[in-house]
Each structure stands twice: as C-alpha cells, then as structure tokens.
Subunit: 333 residues, 2 copies
C-alpha cells in the first residue's frame, strides 16, 4: 500500500486540518468530535441541513458545506459511521431555531447513529426530521444495508434540499423536497479495480484482470454480479437499463444526468460513459436538461463510475440551478 498519508489512524484528522486551512473562508472544522460547519452557522431564519457518514467518499460530505447546500457534515472514520457524540453537537450548532433536516445514506450504522443523535436533539427541543437516501438500484439488501444503499443521489438531495433551505422554506417543505428528489433518483455503479482502506492495508476486494463488479457499492461491497470486462458503451448500457427501468422513465421526462467517478478513473473516461448514457436517453426521447460529470462521491481511489438519473420537475430544476458556494460545488453566486 502506497498512500500520501502519515499514519492510518490520523488520516481523517489531518485531512480535515488541511481542509480547514484551504477553505476557512467557507467553513469551520471542529476536531474531536469531528464535524465541519458553515462559517456563518447558525443561519437565522433558515432550516439547517446536516449530513455525514464514513470518510473516504470525498468531496462528500464535507466538500458540500456552505451556502445553498449543507450546514454541517459529520465525517466518521474511513468507511465507518460517525458516532452520535459527533452528530449531536453538529446538529445543535447548526440549528437556528428553524429546525434541522438530517440527510442520511441508507447504511445500518448511519441510520442507527443519526437516529440516536436525532432523539437526543429532540430532547433538547430541536425540531428535527430525517430523510434516508436509497437510490442504488443494484441490490435490495447488501453488506451494510437493509434495503437499497444510498449512493450518488445523495449529492443531488443535498444540493436541491440545500436550495430549498437557502430560499427560506420551512422544515416541512425542505423535507418534502428532499424526499421528492430521493423518490425520483436512481443510480448504479461499476468497479474496475478496488480501493485500499488505510487501516486495512490491503485492497477491499480483488478482481481478475478480465472482470468487473457490476453494481458495486461505494465501499467496494458486492453488487449484482461479476461480469467479463467489456467496452464503455456496453458497461454503460448495463448500468443505465436497471436505472431507467426502475425509474419508469418515459419519453416526456426531463432529467438530470450525473456520471460520477469512484476516485481513480480519469475524467476523460467519465465523459465517454456520459456520452453513451446521453445517447440512450436521446434514443428514448428523454430530455437531458442538466448534467454533472466528475468525482463527487468516491470510494478512495477505486477505479469505476456510476450513473445517476434524476427525474426533474420545474421546482427541482430551479433549486438545482440556485446559487451554491461550497468547496466542491460552486455556481451562480
């Protein structure tokens, strides 16, 4: 294992220290317990959004803290849920009195720990709701999950619900928007090569030179099946079919098409996948209204990609376009 780290145990803390210096115009970093919070939090009169989960998926979630997206992000150890002791102070410091929406990816540990923190925050009188993201069509249950996993759709939930909170919507409305995004977004991923968790020191799985993991999770957990390596168009076809089928896409739909890199795949290859995905949608008469291509939710240096399709309506499109100013996503200021 060769990594640009000093010690497997200090990876998250040292990375957060660097993150804070680089982005101190936007965020504050609290260490021990670790969380990242908007510099101007709490924001008076606005619903707060708090998310989090295991580290190793950067820029998710810390990179999305800032105006128009998350109020706070709570990073656990690599691929490990954050604890209630971390989540609770992030909630308390984020709340302006307008309430807090928790955005939780559907993994058993995350669900339990955010639920515990939510109960404790409720006792402190904070108005709190939770939306669970479960956009991955690959498998129904998996290594760390009862039900579908939450993957790249999380980025879209955070951006669009963040836009709703930023324009001053109340907690019920922001929650409804987040749930609407989750209900209309589907994803599926593929791995060509594994990643190595620093404290494990060995690749999290192995693949033969001629096979790929179709439907892989963002921790390298198994997907649907291993298939022989093939070309980008064929791989994209295999990813798009279950996504579109599950979404029940029709020719009148307008969508956001998101091709995400898992960390170790060149951007040029993501555009080749995007090209085929856009062709498939065009053939079905579906209008691609918005796009996102890049490494937005990763699995360390895993080689692979995922495709995500979000069915848009006018309000979701408007909230997607609304200004955002975070370390990793920024436009329309």
């Amino acid at each position: 294992m060769k990594k640009l780290i000093n010690n497997p145990r200090s990876v998250v803390a040292e990375s957060l220290q660097g993150f804070e210096i680089a982005h101190r115009d936007l965020v504050k970093v609290h260490l021990d317990p670790d969380y990242v919070i908007r510099r101007d939090a709490p924001v008076r009169g606005k619903v707060a959004l708090v998310s989090g989960g295991g580290s190793g998926h950067e820029p998710l979630h810390s990179g999305y803290v800032g105006a128009g997206m998350l109020t706070a992000a709570v990073p656990g150890a690599v691929f490990t849920s954050p604890t209630p002791d971390q989540i609770l102070p992030a909630i308390v410091e984020s709340d302006s009195g307008s309430g807090v929406l928790l955005i939780v990816k559907n993994y058993t540990g995350d669900i339990l720990n955010f639920e515990t923190a939510a109960e404790l925050a409720g006792v402190e009188g904070i108005d709190i709701r939770t939306v669970v993201v479960n956009d991955d069509v690959a498998v129904e249950d998996s290594t760390y999950t009862a039900g579908r996993r939450g993957v790249a759709g999380t980025v879209l939930v955070e951006k669009i619900a963040g836009g709703s909170a930023e324009r001053g919507d109340d907690l019920a409305k922001v929650t409804e928007v987040a749930e609407r995004v989750n209900a209309n977004v589907r994803s599926m991923g593929v791995a060509l090569a594994p990643c190595t968790v620093p404290h494990a020191g060995e690749p999290s799985f192995t693949l033969a030179d001629d096979e790929i993991e179709m439907g892989v999770g963002i921790h390298g957990e198994p997907g649907r099946h291993r298939v022989p390596m093939t070309n980008a168009d064929s791989i994209t076809d295999q990813l798009m079919e279950p996504v579109l089928s599950d979404l029940g896409i029709t020719s009148s739909d307008k969508v956001l098409l998101f091709v995400n890199g898992m960390g170790g795949t060149p951007l040029s290859e993501l555009y080749i996948v995007y090209r085929r995905a856009a062709q498939i949608l065009a053939e079905r008469g579906v209008s691609v209204e918005r796009s996102l291509v890049g490494n937005y939710i990763t699995a360390l240096e895993m080689e692979g990609a995922s495709v995500t399709v979000l069915r848009l309506d006018d309000e979701l499109t408007q909230l997607w376009d609304s200004p955002v100013k975070t370390p990793a996503l920024r436009w329309g200021e």
Copy 2:
C-alpha cells in the same frame, strides 16, 4: 489494462462528444480537427486566449474554456501535441480582432506546433503572442523538453491571464500578466504509481512497491530520482524545498498554494499534503492568501500529486478572484 473506453483510437473524440453534450451551455466542440471553443466566441473587444496540448491531463485544457479563462483549447491525442492544422482554426475562430495569446506548456512538440500555427495566423493578419509556461523545478531538461517543463502552473496562468482578457486588457497587457504569473510560479510532483496510455496498453513506467518517483512529469516521464516510499509529510517537505528555494520565497511574500492530484489519488490525501505545505509556509512566515486543492491537471489515473506555489501581488490576486465560468473552474459569476 481495464479502462472505461471503447477503442484506444476513439478515446479523445468520444470523450469530447460527451463533453460537448454535458457543457453545451458553455462550449462548442469542433471535431476533425478537434478543438473546444467558447460558445460565444469570438468575444468582441476582448483578447482571445488559446491553449492546448496532449490529452490525458483533463480537466486541462478543455475544462477551462469559458468566460474568464480560455477562449479555445486544442487537445491532441493522449500525451501527444496537437497539430498546427488543429491549432490554426482554433486561433482564427477565437480572434475578435483584438489579438490572440497562445499559452503553451514547454514541451518540444507543443512549442513547434503552436509556433507553426502562430506563423500561419500571423500571415492571416492576426495579432498573436505566445507565453511558454515552464514552472516545473524538478529537472532542467527532460524526455520531451528543452528547459523546464510546464505543469500545474499552467492552470494559474490560464485563470489569471483569462481574468485580464475578460476585463478588457489589450494583448500586450494580457501577455505581461501571463508572463508575470509564469515568472512567479513553481511546481514539483511525485508519482506513487504509473498511468497507462490507452493505445500503449501497458503502464508508462514501473515502480517497486517501496519506491516513488520524485519530480515526475505529467506524462510519467522521469523526475529527479527514485526514493524509498515515506510518509506524506516527508514527501511534501521534499517537494516544497526546491519549489520555495527556486522561487526565493521570503517571509513578506503572499502566495497561492495549489495542491494538485495526478488523477488516481483520493482528495483526502491531497488535503494531507496541503496541510503540511501550509505548515511549511506558516513556519517561514509566508501568508497563504488563496488555495486550490484537487485534480486540475492530471496524468490519466496516475497516483501522485504536485505542489505549486505562486507569489501573488495585488493585481494577480484580484485577477485570480475575478469571475470564471468554465466546466471545471467556476466562481463569482
């Protein structure tokens, strides 16, 4: 070799096709000859900036086409210079009558081909200047270069000269700004693992499990020496010392600190490198005024990183902050 491609010969064209669909609000893509150009080019009354070079360094250069940065980018085959036949039409279509600045990384093939295109453009009556970027302190001459290589500093030249052109500076002024950035920027990189060029099919070099290439180029070409693998802080020390020494940094300096990923290194590791680089500057009393951390000039999926330090003055800082709206760099709109 497992890559998300269809055919090694169609990688650049198919990637550009995807790029165009994803970013058609910002750019037009011309195929055969290949170049990417601002949707609104030529921009009346503004100097045009044209850059380019081998593909495989994405998002450089195509990702930087848009308001406040490049007018056009000319991508060659992977790690191969674009031809004069590509560069010339990009120049002609970019020119609004206010002249064109070519931003060329210092590689022999790029120099020759941009020079030829510049001569042909001159014959057509276009006012044309060239700035050659050579920020890499690792080696004096190298595989593809007489003199120092142009690496990550190129991103900063393109952004800051782009700001100068966007505010309406004339060609002499935009050229002076670009040269001032190049004179005040230094970089050095390290590779932990190689990349594989699609049409080669094999890694471009090999490294033992316990060694790294210090001073590597963005094509995987050799640097200063191979050294035993060590921790991130020690690697960062070895990168920063020659950069700061060559720059003649002093405690009154204000700088932009840029930690760039080579493509296959997790963002969290880049922040660990950034942390140490910022510590080194703080220890020397140097003020880090601006930061950039991420995959901005890559070598396909190479694992590694580079550090870049730019000595700022008030005008360069102001131009760095000025609005930019490109597929890969966007703020302050």
